[in-house]
Structure formats: C-alpha cells, structure tokens
C-alpha cells in the first residue's frame, strides 16, 4: 500500500517538475521578448531622429543590407507590434501554467499526506 502510494507520489513529483520547467521556459522567453521590446523602442526613436540624408542598413547575417528609411521605420513598427502580441500570448500561457502547477501542488500534498499516513500505519503494524 505504501509502495503504491510512493510510486504515485514519484510520478506526480516528476510531472510537477516538468511543469515547473515549462513555466520557467516561458518565463525566460517572455523576458527575452521584453528586452527586444525595449530595444525596438530605442531603434524607433533613433530612426525618427534621422532624416533621409543618411542610409539605413540592416544586418542580415554577415551582410549589411541597405534599407530605405521609411521602410525601416515601418518594419520596426511592425516588429514592435508583433513583439507585444507575443508577450500577451506568453502571459496567458504563463497564467495557465501557474494554475495547473497549483493544482498539481495540491494533488502532490494530498498524496504526500496519504503516503505519510500509510507509512505510519505500516510502522504501526510492524
């Protein structure tokens, strides 16, 4: 009896660990997005400061590709929006994961209790 519970417990613990990893992954992805967001904001400001006299390049791999200023501005704006959307998405995902991990935690704790009880019983019997 106790062993069965132990096995169950282990399985649950693994699942929970997995969930935690997922959560942390999403967290880090979200953080990356945040930094990108700030960067793009800076780029946007700079581009606004520039006038059309100077050329704008984009680094694609090892190549600096010439870009039009307006095009560049548009691209950067679009990228900003995209990043925002991604952040939102990640937030919802994160919330869901949090909820799930909470549930898991509860299950775990109840299982633990059971296990302890069973262990206590076993000890008593012995």
């Amino acid at each position: 009896m106790a062993e069965a519970i132990q096995k169950k417990l282990k399985a649950e613990v693994e699942k929970y660990a997995q969930m935690q990893k997922d959560v942390s992954k999403s967290m880090s992805a979200r953080q990356k997005l945040e930094t990108q967001l700030t960067e793009n904001n800076i780029v946007k400001e700079e581009l606004d400061l520039l006038d059309s006299t100077n050329t704008v390049y984009k680094l694609i791999g090892p190549v600096l590709v010439k870009q039009d200023l307006d095009e560049a501005k548009a691209t950067v704006t679009k990228r900003l929006e995209y990043i925002n959307g991604e952040i939102q998405r990640y937030e919802t995902v994160l919330k869901d994961m949090e909820k799930k991990s909470e549930q898991h935690r509860e299950v775990l704790s109840s299982l633990q209790q059971e296990f302890q009880r069973a262990q206590g019983l076993a000890v008593g019997k012995v």
């Binding site: 800076i42 984009k58 680094l59 694609i60």
Partner: protein, 471 residues
C-alpha cells in the same frame, strides 16, 4: 526551556539562510551596477572619440590584420559613421548625429542605473531587518523578542480545540469550560497561547478564588455598567472579552482585550501586568417583541454562592458562560440527581433555574429596556423594523447599544445597561453597523406590542417563558 532553545536554533537557521539569500541578491545587484557603470564609461569614451574624429580628414593608423598582426593604414571619411541603432539596424550618419545617438544611449543607461540603486536601497532596508532578526534570535541584541512558551501543551488539560460542537441534547463536557481566565492569566501570552497548562484541578480550585472577581473579561464591560455612559463607551467591545472563551485553556484574552489582559511572560522575561476592576455585569437581551431578558451577574453570583454550597464546583463552572456550550449547561433538568440537558433551551421551563430573569413588558421600566439595543435572542428583526423609524427619539437613558453576547458568545458577553434612572435623561444611541438598532419605541407602540405572553407564537422564547413563570 529546551524548547525555547530549539526554537532559537531553528530561527537562527532560518535567519541565516535569509541572510545568505540577501547577500546573494546584493551581489547580483551590485554586479549589475558595476556593469552598467562600465557601460556608461565606455560611452563616455566613445563620445570623446566621436568629437575628435572629424578633426582631421584622415588618420594614419595601425589596422588590425587578423588576430595576430597589424598593418599600417589610413582612416578616411572620418565624418561618416555607421551607427548601430539596436536590433541589427544600422544607420550611416555623421559624427555629430552619431554623437546624438550615443547621448541617448547614455541617458538610458543612466536611467537604469538609478533604478538599480533605488532597488538596492530598498533592499538594504530588508537586509538590515534580517540582521536585526538574527541578533534577536540569538539573544545577543538589546531587545528581546517577547515570546510565549507554548511548551506546556504536554499537560493535558483542555483539548486544543477551540470549540466543541455539542449536540443539543448531549451534556457538554465539563473540561471545556474555560473558567475565566484569571487563573490562566499566568500562562496567557500574546500570541494565542494554547496552553494546555491549566489542569482541571487548577481551574476548579481557582474557581473558588475567582468567584469574586468575575473574569477580567467582564471587566471590560464593567465600565459600561450602570450609568448612562456614553454609547461610545458601550460600544467598546465588551464582547472582546469573549474571544478567550474560544481558546479553551489559557488565557485567552489576548488580542481582543488589549488593556484588559493580564499577561505574564516566562519568569525570566519582563512581565506586564494589567489589573482592572471587576464589577458584576448586567446584561439585557432583547429576546423578541415583548421580551427582555435580564441577565445579571450579581444574580448569577448569588446563585453561584448558593449552589456552590450545595453542589460544589460544577455549578460554579456551569454558570460561567463563556461559550455557547455553557448555555446548554445552564439549561438542564436535574433528574435523578444528575443534570440532564433539556431538549430545547427555548422552552419556557428552561428558564426556571436560569440566572436570567425576564422583564415583563408591561412595566414601565421595561419600556426603556426595549430601547436597548441588542440583537433579539430569536433574531426577531422584524419587530425592530417597525420601530426603526423612531430611532431618533431618545427618551430613555439606554446606555449602550451593545448587542448581547449572543452574537459572540453566551450571555455573559455583553453588557447592555439599562439605566434605572427616569427617562428624562437624554441619551444617545449609537447604531452599530452590525446590529439592527433598536430604536426608541413610542409608548403607543409599546403598548400595542404587549400581547399576553401566552398568545405568543408557538415557539416561545425561553426568556419569555421564564418571564411568564416569574410573572
């Protein structure tokens, strides 16, 4: 004492870990700060370079050639700079424009640096607290953490349960009686000491002593006793006295009655003593349309002393009402020499032996009582609603619209004093938000409200019944 030591050790461990964590965070923060400062230094250098670069048309320089060599060369187009705007975007611009870009970046970095320093400051406060905690827990500091020893729980006196829900017909356990704490005050402490310290013997023995002083809890009410004290006073929670009843042993009274507690620390720690005068309480409970139940401590004490001579301890405890349990204990029939709980304490004959006396509606004195605020024992709010318009009338010197202990515990909790003085004394009634205020009733209403008790609805409140019997 060993337990205290153990606690200290645990605490120390916990605090040490806290310190570690704090230090870690400090490190990261400070390293972050250092980085930022380096960055800003770099930007400064860059700024200088950009300034001086266009001074000359071209420079002779040694150009790095692969990882191991340099080659002499010339730096041309000194005014043209390709600046990184961020996120793999470049812009070709003049040196001056590049400078502007650099300035922007500098501003940003400085901003971040400031934020970091702010958080560092906040964090330092927390670190300081952790340090203090450590010194406290290791008892090296100047001030000592006032802590109550809960190690006495090994002596089984009262169970640790706060309340015992008894079936109505079952005899409540005696040991659940919390004999007003006086005795217990020795053990009581702030933190909710669940001392099982008091043995039943102690309780019982102390009963005799404490008979005179009715529990300090009552003391809170004493102030309101009897005079037309301002309602505010009355509002002061006499019922705070009661929370103790929940905690079986020990001295309860902690949180609620701040000033009225007597606390005693462990012998080695400084002790705080409070004392208060104790007066017997009077409680009036409005138990319905026409009924008002008077619960008087004096009476109770009299009966106590009477019965004590007869029955010894048990009755004494019985009449100390601190929990709802006690109510049931009160209303018992003595059959075959043993108290048998009544099926319903609402029945009229339940009130025969009770310490509550009913006041008849017809008496003029009662009229004022009815003004007293108290939740009707039967929660008969409908009756109050009629009269609720008359709130502003203040003929009667009702003291405080404390609602009876029924809300929080048994009788003894609240004091609703009725001033026996004539109604000429104006008096303020305060409506407790939680209570339906019992407004002043007009005489006519009172008159109309007085049906013969026997014609009351089938469910006769015990108070009424008692009154009937007494009348």
């Amino acid at each position: 004492m060993a337990e205290k030591g153990k606690m200290n050790i645990e605490r120390l461990g916990g605090v040490a870990r806290l310190r570690e964590e704090n230090e870690k965070v400090e490190h990261t923060r400070s390293s972050g700060q250092v980085d930022k400062q380096k960055v800003s230094g770099d930007y400064e250098a860059l700024n200088k370079r950009l300034k001086t670069l266009p001074d000359q048309l071209s420079y002779d320089i040694m150009v790095p050639f692969g990882p191991l060599a340099f080659i002499p060369g010339k730096l041309v187009h000194t005014n043209e700079v390709t600046a990184l705007l961020g996120d793999n975007w470049f812009a070709k611009c003049s040196a001056k424009q590049a400078q502007k870009v650099v300035d922007h970046r500098m501003k940003y970095v400085k901003h971040e640096l400031e934020d970091l320093s702010k958080t560092m400051k906040n964090f330092e406060a927390r670190v300081g607290l952790a340090k203090d905690l450590e010194t406290i827990s290791s008892s090296k500091g100047d001030y000592v953490d006032i802590r109550e020893d809960t190690g006495n729980s090994d002596t089984p006196v009262t169970k640790g349960k706060q309340r015992i829900a008894h079936k109505p017909n079952s005899m409540p356990k005696m040991d659940a009686v919390l004999d007003l704490k006086e005795e217990n005050e020795g053990e009581s402490g702030d933190g909710g000491s669940r001392n099982g310290t008091l043995t039943e013997e102690e309780l019982l023995s102390d009963n005799a002593d404490m008979n005179g002083e009715d529990t300090s809890s009552m003391s809170s009410e004493e102030e309101k006793e009897g005079d037309a004290s301002p309602p505010v006073n009355g509002l002061k929670p006499g019922w705070t006295a009661r929370p103790h009843s929940k905690a079986p042993p020990s001295a309860d009274r902690k949180a609620g009655e701040d000033d009225e507690e007597e606390q005693e620390e462990g012998s080695c720690l400084p002790t705080i003593f409070f004392s208060h005068t104790i007066e017997p309480k009077k409680v009036r409970i409005n138990t319905g349309k026409n009924t008002m139940l008077k619960f008087s401590e004096r009476k109770e004490q009299k009966e106590h002393s009477k019965r004590k001579k007869k029955n010894g301890h048990s009755h004494h405890e019985l009449h100390k009402i601190t929990t709802p349990v006690d109510i049931y204990r009160l209303f018992v029939d003595v059959k075959n020499g043993e108290p048998v709980p009544r099926k319903s304490i609402l029945k009229s004959r339940s009130r025969e032996n009770s310490v509550c006396s009913d006041t008849s509606e017809s008496s003029a004195a009662d009229f004022e009582e009815r003004r007293v605020i108290g939740r009707s024992f039967s929660h008969d709010e409908a009756t109050h609603s009629d009269t609720s318009d008359g709130i502003t009338e203040e003929d009667s010197p009702t003291a405080v619209p404390l609602h009876p202990a029924s809300r929080f515990e048994a009788f003894s909790g609240t004091v609703v004093e009725k001033d026996p003085m004539p109604s000429a004394i104006p008096h303020l009634t305060i409506a407790l938000p939680a209570l339906p205020t019992i407004p002043e009733r007009k005489q006519e209403e009172v008159a109309s409200d007085v049906p013969p008790p026997h014609q009351a609805p089938k469910r006769v409140s015990k108070f009424k019944a008692a009154r009937l019997q007494q009348v």
